[in-house]
Point group: C2
Chain length 390, copies 2
């Protein structure tokens, strides 16, 4: 399923190293490195969990942005994938992914035109709505007399506390669902509820209590619709932070987790605080190289602001540096190493691997994954929807 | 000089709007928007300044990452361009830019192989060195018996206080220059000195004093080399923060400014504090659209962590929102608007333009510039070296 050589060669200056022994530590850097074995264990672990608790898995591809990885998730048994943006859905559709949910609203005139066109390409395309104005605009564009290929599937996005997107549970949400159910151009599929504000609550018990309370709002809304004879085929939500909690509410039909594939500093912090053994491994790292080391106690690497997410300023070195070495941003193109004392150091050419600070926006900086196994580069996978935020 | 239509269509979902009246405010968003008139005034202003004070302009293309813009800078009279990374130089070379200085060291074995190959493509390729080990490695790879096309031009990078790259002025630096001057595979061109730590010093007088002190170190080093019969054809450095200061030291031959083309929140803050009229205009903005507005006092846009630099958390709305509205990050894909009171708001579909918080890493998130003039989209320019950090 990897890309043909001509494509990977364009994508990475390292493609010629595929298959070379030891090449996993000789990459031109900075490079996004994916440990294939750990990645596959994470993929399997979440799928097995969903099967065990009777949930579908609708993984969020805003994390990985890769057609190759989406295909692997579908092959493993996912019911479909999620994307955040229309531009991502277009690429996934062209890549042959046949079930795609866009988890935020498409509101612009030109965007709605693109959405209707995409509904002809993706058999099971879905989009969330959270306002009557938007639903009406979609209904007009998708009306049968417009000659579209099929009704446009919509999911009402419910705001269960994050206040980012979604409509508050209650009468307004019910009316929105009724409008969608009654529109010939639309097909009402169900509800989405994402408690993004709870994903990183450090205390497991608190996270669980609050998540189950949030899910109770979704269950109440489902009942409210049932009383109006509107049934929900899909109740979708949840994430990596609540992966082992959400099913207990007994309301979701599928789980939207994304970061579980890679893990990152933010999710590792939550997982470690839980006290239990971590369910998902850190499969994704940033490889960087020391390029300058002329000042005692510090050294300069080739990975700075352009090579990692900087919304959280917490950087963890996983390998390649003496214990106690701190990583800091040293401008757009460089990182810095602060050694525990002035007699410690690393020479230019030394290779380090960093934990991904926040995986989604870090992946969005790179054109490809360098897939490694047993110390060798074995493949290069494109980050197909990189930058497709519109 | 813009790309053919087939290329721009791939690059932007908005390419079909080129030439349409009012299209500058109807883009699928988030979109990087470049005001062509302001951009051209900035381009001209800096070139005229350099001519007036007798400096060459060697603008830093790590800011814009665009072959089209590099060509325009060369056409306007630049002596060459700078890039931060080898991967950027490769793209600029393939784009026909014939003078490129790589401003940080290339230390990996595979990188040195790429560098020597690139020296066959770019007639005036230069790279900085700051250690004897690295200089020796380059000398071996570029030795005449290796059959390379021409000697590799090198510039000794001097650390004048930032401690990021460069070698301290003094005996070690002199020995490094001597080694380069004596190596048959290398051609010693001169010195680089970049006082990155002074670019954003808020007080103009303090910035000037410190910059001139830093430049004095460069002048002293030039004299030290002159005493050893080594002459410097190039003395390169400076930036947008010290553009009107650096020439007063009388040592630089050329100026490496980059951000002057676009300006951003960081540089605007420095420029405004100077008290004088701002020399360079804000030509680059991020266009974003409200996608959800169900909670009183706030609204959600489509531009979040993946659509702007987040190393500084300062966001400035330039147009489209009521006075007193604050912009905040609302996750990877969304931004938030906090209105001055709960009765103020913006409906979904409303369009805003934000100042670029930090231009270099923001540009690095986008595939293209949407070039606008008189309210219409007039062209789409690729961000050719986006992500080319290796």
């Amino acid at each position: 399923m990897s890309q043909p050589a001509s494509r990977t060669t364009e994508l990475s200056v390292n493609a010629h190293m595929i298959g070379q022994q030891g090449s996993a530590q000789s990459l031109n850097t900075p490079a996004l490195v994916l440990d294939l074995d750990a990645f596959e264990r994470n993929l399997t672990r979440m799928m097995e969990h969903c099967h065990a608790v009777g949930l579908g898995l609708r993984p969020h591809a805003k994390t990985h942005k890769s057609v190759e990885i989406a295909r692997r998730q579908m092959s493993a048994g996912a019911v479909g994938i999620c994307v955040a943006k229309l531009g991502e859905a277009e690429v996934m559709g062209r890549g042959g992914i046949d079930s795609v949910l866009i988890t935020s609203p498409v509101v612009k005139t030109d965007g709605i035109r693109r959405l209707i066109a995409l509904n002809g390409l993706i058999p099971d395309l879905m989009v969330t709505i959270d306002s009557l104005d938007n639903a009406q605009a979609l209904a007009r564009a998708a009306a049968p007399e417009q000659g579209g290929p099929r009704p446009l599937k919509v999911i009402v996005d419910l705001d269960i506390g994050l206040h980012r997107t979604g409509i508050a549970p209650g009468e307004g949400a019910a009316e929105l669902a009724e409008f969608a159910a009654a529109s010939p151009g639309l097909k009402f599929m169900g509800l989405q509820a994402y408690a993004g504000h709870l994903m990183h609550v450090a205390d497991y018990a608190e996270r669980k209590t609050k998540s189950l309370e949030a899910m109770a709002q979704l269950a109440a809304m489902r009942e409210m619709l049932r009383e109006r004879s509107i049934s929900c085929e899909i109740l979708t939500g949840g994430g990596t932070g609540t992966w082992d909690i959400d099913h207990e509410a007994g309301v979701l039909t599928d789980l939207q987790a994304g970061s579980y594939l890679f893990m990152d500093t933010e999710y590792n912090a939550v997982a470690q605080k839980d006290g239990a053994a971590q369910a998902f491994e850190t499969s994704l790292t940033i490889q960087t190289t020391v390029v300058s080391a002329n000042t005692p106690g510090i050294a300069t690497t080739d990975a700075g602001i352009k090579s990692m997410a900087t919304d959280q300023k917490s950087f963890v070195i996983r390998s390649g540096a003496p214990d106690g070495t701190a990583y800091f941003l040293f401008g757009d193109e460089q990182g810095g190493l602060a050694f525990p004392d002035k007699d410690t150091g690393l020479a230019p050419g030394s290779v380090l691997n960093l934990e991904t600070p926040h995986c989604d926006p870090t992946v969005n900086l790179y054109d490809c994954y360098h897939v490694v196994k047993d110390g060798a580069l074995v493949d290069v996978w494109p980050v197909d929807t990189r930058g497709k935020s519109a």
